[in-house]
Amino acid sequence: MAEELLVPITSDLDVVSARQKGRELAAVAGFSSGDQTVIAAAISEIARNILMYAKRGEISLRTVLNGDLDGLVVVARDQGPGIPDVARALQDGYSTSGGLGLGLPGARRLMDDFDVVSAPGKGTTVTMKKWRRRHA
């Protein structure tokens, strides 16, 4: 159950690969096709953030159990420049890259749990989870 799938992110091909692997894992874990798409979209956004801000990093995917809930956990890690103001980076429309500024706040809306740990020069770790109730 605790098996972890690691996807290195070094190019835009890896962004596609990370979201496809996330979708597959979500399907195996029993998520609906709507939730699979939501999870894939969230992974796409944070994987692209790795590429854009840190150039390289990795995405870890795993499933977890919590009581009668099945969860899918996505962790995106990089050793990039870090985010000076995490609260601001989570606001819609705020971007330092000329993008739409919807990556982080959008991914947060798509997932159930969302956590960002970052500091300048210390890299960034985004942990996000999606839950589904297990049917007896």
Binding site: V15, G34, A40, R48, G106, L110
Partner: protein, 130 residues
């Protein structure tokens, strides 16, 4: 993965066949804008039925295609956004404001036909009012 672009009458049809990288999307944008001029196209259809995910980069690129094509005299319509994809887009906060959409290829073609018909009528109206 290059996206095939077909020419049908005055329209260009780009039919996305599989998941696209950011580079593929940018390449599609350049190819379409170039071909609008080359074929003197009046309409562009981008069929995204096969797209598994529409994230912020994809939406921004489609918006750019529509706006750039309009500056070149062609109307763009995005067709085939799947229900799950639409749901995720709304959650992400992604809109295609200012870009026409239609359910599928057939509706997209009908939309472009109506648009060019209206354009002809507007032109005629101007000539008569002279």
């Amino acid at each position: 993965m290059e996206v095939p672009i077909l020419k049908q009458g005055l329209y260009l049809i780009a039919s996305i066949q599989s998941a696209l990288t950011d580079a593929d999307l940018s390449q599609l944008r350049e190819a379409l804008i170039e071909r609008v001029g080359k074929f003197r196209a009046r309409g562009v259809i981008v069929d995204v039925t096969a797209l598994d995910v529409m994230d912020s980069f994809a939406v921004r690129t489609l918006r750019d295609i529509a706006h750039m094509a309009r500056l070149r005299g062609a109307e763009t319509v995005i067709v085939g956004i799947q229900p799950e994809v639409a749901f995720a887009m709304v959650q992400l906060g992604l809109t295609l404001k200012g870009v026409s959409t239609a359910l599928d290829l057939e509706e997209g073609l009908a939309f472009l036909d109506r648009q060019s018909q209206e354009r002809i009528e507007r032109t005629r109206g101007r000539i008569i009012r002279g």
